[in-house]
Structure formats: structure tokens, C-alpha cells
Amino acid sequence: MRRSSSRSELAFRLGIGAFGFLIVAIVCTIGVVLAVQSMASIRKFGLNFWLTRTWDPVAGQFGALPFIWGTLYSSLIALLIATPIALGIAVFISELCPPSLRQPFVFLTELLAAIPSIVYGLWGIFVLVPAVRTVERALPAAVRATPLFSGPPLGLGLLSAALVLAVMVVPFISSVSREVLKSVPAAQREAAYALGATRFEAIRAALFYARTGIVGAVMLGFGRALGETMAVTMVIGNNPRISLSLFAPQYTMAAVIANEFTEAADELYLSALVEIGLVLFIITLLVNSLSRLLIWSMNRTGRVITAPEPVHASA
């Protein structure tokens, strides 16, 4: 009896281990296949692929910098817009919302995540872009002269893309943050109240306690924004030129792959597009590793601060 249970235990461990290993294998295989397929482009351009700005399929000159810039810039702006909104939603639902309204609110935010991205794209083109164009036109000339808002008011461009992305990542950040807030022990809040904290101070203490999870939620949204393709390509204007301006049409890595892959018949061109995929893969890995590092370092320093925090709140 004892022996058979230990044998099934072993089989279980091996089986589960194999699934765990499968993930590692899949990630490695993706990396290797991308690298092999983009070899022609890697050989020809080397590190310059990351650093040059020309994307010219006719001349066979390929540089990914404008796409890297557009991807990171649009995702960062999207996060700047989405994070406060998503945190507000999460705090409201988990801390302030009347229990009878909680379920409908949760349902509605999660519904946002279920809408296909092409629908966001269509909404972007027909509703958001004309609205952004009107706002851009209405801005005073002094504002339009600054580098952040220069260029013709097309409506299409980085700002529209960032706004669409923001709407798309809000449900991700807010539902994960809400779960994290829910897992904050009641003792934390009770302790804060016991020390005479106001509601705001108690929530602040809970947010502080949950900070690593919230950073994780934001990073999840960032990862989602980096890879979003359809909705972005429909509103960003698809122009591979680096610009600081929020009004300028720009381009992202995922969008250029989706747009140009089908018609790329030439080997170097195809290989350059695959290398864009490789660059996106590496950047996504880097972003995720950085967020891990951030969470790890916060946990380390956090341990020292958590103890005095309630004291601080009561002061």
C-alpha cells in the first residue's frame, strides 16, 4: 500500500514536472526559431538593426528603431493613463463599493477585457480619432508649438493609439489589483482603524501592503500593451518615423509584422520582419525580468518599512 502510493506520487511529480518543463521548452523554442529564421537579417545588419531608422523594402535597408520607439512610447503613455484609472476602479470595488453593486461592477470591468481588439480598433477609427482630432484642433497655438504636441492635427497618431491601449489594459490592471487588495489580511485594515486611521489612511496602508502585487498587475498591462496589434495599427497612422509628438503618426513592432508579412516575398525582407518579432520577444522578456527584479527589491526593502507604517499612519 505504502509503496504503491509512493509510486503514484513519483508519477504525479514527473507528470507535473514535464508540464512545467514544457513551458520552458516552448519559450526556448520560440526564441531559437525566431533567431534561426531571422539569420539573414542578423548577419547583414547585426546590432545596427536595433539602432538605425530606415525601413526601406525597395533598397533592402532595415532598421527597427522607429518600431521599438513607437511600441515602447505608446505602451508607456497608455500605462500612464490606465494605471490611475485602474487603481481607482480596484480600490472602489474592493474597499468602497456597496456590496450589492460590487458584482455588476466586476462584471462590467471584466467585460471590457472580453471585447475583441478589432472592435476596439473600429471604435478607435470611428469615435476616438475624430474626437482626438477635434481636441487637437482646439488646442491653442502656443501648446501646439511644443515638441510634445507638434505636427498637423490628424487625429490618427500616437495619442489615439495610447488611448485605445489604455482602455484595453484597464480591465487587466484593475482585476488583478482588486484580487491583490482582496488578499490583504483584514488585520492590516483593522490595525489601522484601531490606531485611529481615517478610511483614506487605511486604504493607503492596504495599497502599500499590496504594492508588489499592484506592480505586477501594471506590468501585466504593460506586456499586453506591447503586443497589441490590430487595434493599434488601425489608429496609430503606421508611419515609421521617430517623434516625441503625441500627434504624430508612428508605428509599432507588432503592427509592422501584421501589415507587411503577407506580401514580403524577398528573403531578406522576410527575415527582417521575423527579426522584428525576435526584438519584440526580447523586449517583452526584458520588461518581465525588470518587473520581477522590481518586485524582488521592493519585497526586500519592504520588510523593514512595514513594521513602522501603522505607527506613521496614526501620527
Binding site: 477609427i125 490628424l154 490618427l156 501589415n259 503577407t262
Partner: protein, 343 residues
């Protein structure tokens, strides 16, 4: 006498057996390629299947580049492309690939200028300068000179182009390269290019959408999209000096004018065709077939289909917004089809 009767009988028996075997297992042919001719190709395959229930043709509209890659890899029996294959691509193929023009299309300049209802006139040079970013206002002297009597506003021009690789882009930049040396040296010809200016939309419908929404925009789309979306499109000056508007007649005329100097492999650009009455931004779209296909049964069925498409099939063109091939080109193609080795 007896032996001849026997021979006749055995021939009949053989023919019957063959017919039975053909109808028993129908012939399936797979193809892939250009999206531009997809509506008429799918119409043709459906109609042909009604006439010949034993022949089933599948077509995936994955884009011209994809079609070329797939036929080179021999994963499909035939390919389809809006631009002819380059000599390097032909060299890299495992066998000799033949081009067969099937229908004609036209690309038109579409625009959206507030309060201008008139049909504008363009020359190739003006279109090239607009797309190079050298003409930036609608009331520029170069445009005003061609359109006397139209009050053009001082609105900024927004250039809209295809963001995705496309045969439509190929035809458009092929034309611009012929009329503007600067375009040819700075930008060149391909299914996607390094655009000097403008915003990119996905697909014909994407560009049509950008133009109809953005005041001051100019773009280029297949004729059928301009008609369906009711966007104004301009006429373009041809080599004979006339301002031609795209129509079934003016596009077929462009192909007729090319028929006399048709190269034997049909890989010819008919943009800016030098004749009267032609619309200058017209092009063939091609089917790609191996000269010596491995599967002879499929080859025979495909050749029969192409013969049907080039003759009876042409009557479906106009309804779907394509221009039919001129008789002269069809005659040349019929002769070329005989080159495909069926045994």
C-alpha cells in the same frame, strides 16, 4: 475485321473506365495569392464547379507575396500575384513558372477636400510630387493650373497610403516611377515602400476610410472601393495628353495598347500605356503556373479552367469592378497555355 471490332470495343471500355475513375475521385486543386482578384476568382471557381462538378478549386487570398512563396515551395498548385515575379524570384523557383494575365484592375486617386465637389484632374508629375511631400497645400499652383474653375482651399494635404504590403501599392508606385524620375530614385517600386510622407491604413477599405474621414486627404484605392464608398476620384492625364477617368473601357484599352508589344512571358507593366483613350494606372493580375507540373490530372483540369476563365469567365468582370482582357491578349494566352506539359 474481328480484331478491329475488338479494338473498338476495348477502346470504348477503356474510355468508360477512365470516365468512371475521373468522376469517382474528383480533382482538387489548391491555389493561393493576391487578394485583389479574390472576388472574381471565387466567383469563377464556384461557376466552374457548377459546370464541372468533378473539378474543385480552392483559393486562399493570402497576398501576392504569400502566393509567390507558396508556389515556390510547391505547397499549392497555382499562385496568383498582382505584380509579376522578379527575375531573381523566377531563378529561385524549383521549376519554370509561367504568368497568365486573368483580368485587369485600375487604381484611382481618391480625395476628400471640404466644399469641393468637382472631379479633379491630375498629372502623374503632380501626383508624384504630392506623394513625395513636395506639394503640401490643395491650392498649390501646380494643382490649380490643371483645375481652372475649381476653387481650391488652402487646406493641408494629408497623404494616405497602404500600410500593408499590397499589389495595389505596386501598381501605384510603378506608375509614379514611370512619370517621376525623383520617385524612381528616391522611393522605387515594391509592394511596400519607404513612404516619404503620410499615414498608413490597412487594406483598400482602410485607405478609403482614412480619406473619407480626414479633411484634406488624398489616397489611392482600387476603383471598386472608390465606387462602393462613393469617394470622389480624379482623372489622370495619359501619355496622349487626355485626362482619362478610370472605367472598364479605358482600362481594357490600356491592355489592348500593350498587346502588340506583349513579351512572350506576359510579365509586362501597362501603367502609363502610350495610346489614346487609356487610363494610365491600370494593371493585369496574373495566375502563376509551373510549365511542367508533377500532377498531370490537375494540370489538365487547371488548363481547361484557365481557358474557360479567359473566354466565358470574362463576362463576370464588369459586375465585380474588373475590366475584361482584350481579345488580342486572350489569343496570345491561349497559345501560351499549350506550352504547359500535360503528359
Amino acid at each position: 475485321m474481328g480484331s478491329s471490332v475488338f479494338r473498338t470495343l476495348s477502346t470504348i471500355a477503356c474510355a468508360a473506365a477512365l470516365a468512371a475513375s475521373v468522376s469517382a475521385d474528383s480533382i482538387k486543386i489548391n491555389g493561393a495569392g493576391a487578394t485583389f482578384p479574390y472576388p472574381i476568382y471565387s466567383k469563377w471557381f464556384a461557376e466552374y464547379n457548377k459546370l464541372h462538378p468533378d473539378v474543385e478549386i480552392n483559393y486562399q487570398s493570402i497576398g501576392s507575396g504569400g502566393g509567390i512563396r507558396q508556389i515556390q515551395a510547391q505547397t499549392v498548385f497555382f499562385g496568383a500575384s498582382d505584380g509579376p515575379m522578379t527575375p531573381e524570384q523566377l531563378q529561385a523557383s524549383p521549376g519554370r513558372i509561367l504568368h497568365f494575365p486573368t483580368v485587369l484592375g485600375a487604381v484611382v486617386p481618391v480625395y476628400n477636400i471640404p466644399n469641393v465637389r468637382a472631379e479633379l484632374k491630375f498629372t502623374g508629375a503632380v501626383l508624384a510630387d504630392i506623394f513625395l511631400g513636395k506639394i503640401t497645400k490643395w491650392n498649390d499652383a501646380a494643382i490649380a493650373k490643371l483645375n481652372a474653375g475649381v476653387t481650391l482651399p488652402a487646406t493641408d494635404i494629408t497623404v494616405a497610403h497602404r500600410a500593408d504590403g499590397s499589389g495595389t501599392t505596386y501598381i501605384w508606385v510603378d506608375y509614379l516611377s514611370k512619370v517621376s524620375p525623383e520617385w524612381k530614385s528616391k522611393v522605387g517600386i515594391n509592394t511596400s515602400v519607404n513612404w516619404p510622407t503620410g499615414v498608413g491604413g490597412r487594406g483598400n477599405e482602410g485607405v478609403a476610410g482614412l480619406v473619407s474621414q480626414t479633411p484634406g486627404a488624398i489616397g489611392y484605392v482600387e476603383l471598386i472601393y472608390a465606387l462602393q464608398n462613393r469617394i470622389s476620384y480624379g482623372s489622370v492625364q495619359n501619355m496622349a495628353g487626355e485626362f482619362a477617368r478610370a472605367s472598364v473601357e479605358s482600362v481594357t484599352a490600356a491592355a489592348s495598347s500593350a498587346a502588340s508589344q506583349m513579351p512572350p512571358d506576359f510579365r509586362v507593366s501597362i501603367t502609363n500605356a502610350p495610346a489614346k483613350g487609356v487610363y494610365p494606372i491600370s494593371s493585369f493580375t496574373w495566375l502563376l503556373l509551373y510549365e511542367s507540373p508533377k500532377n498531370k490530372a490537375q494540370a489538365k483540369a487547371m488548363v481547361d479552367f484557365v481557358k474557360w476563365a479567359l473566354t466565358e469567365g470574362q463576362r463576370y468582370c464588369a459586375d465585380l469592378g474588373y475590366a475584361p482582357l482584350p481579345e488580342s491578349v486572350v489569343k496570345l494566352e491561349m497559345a501560351a497555355l499549350a506550352k504547359i506539359k500535360l503528359s
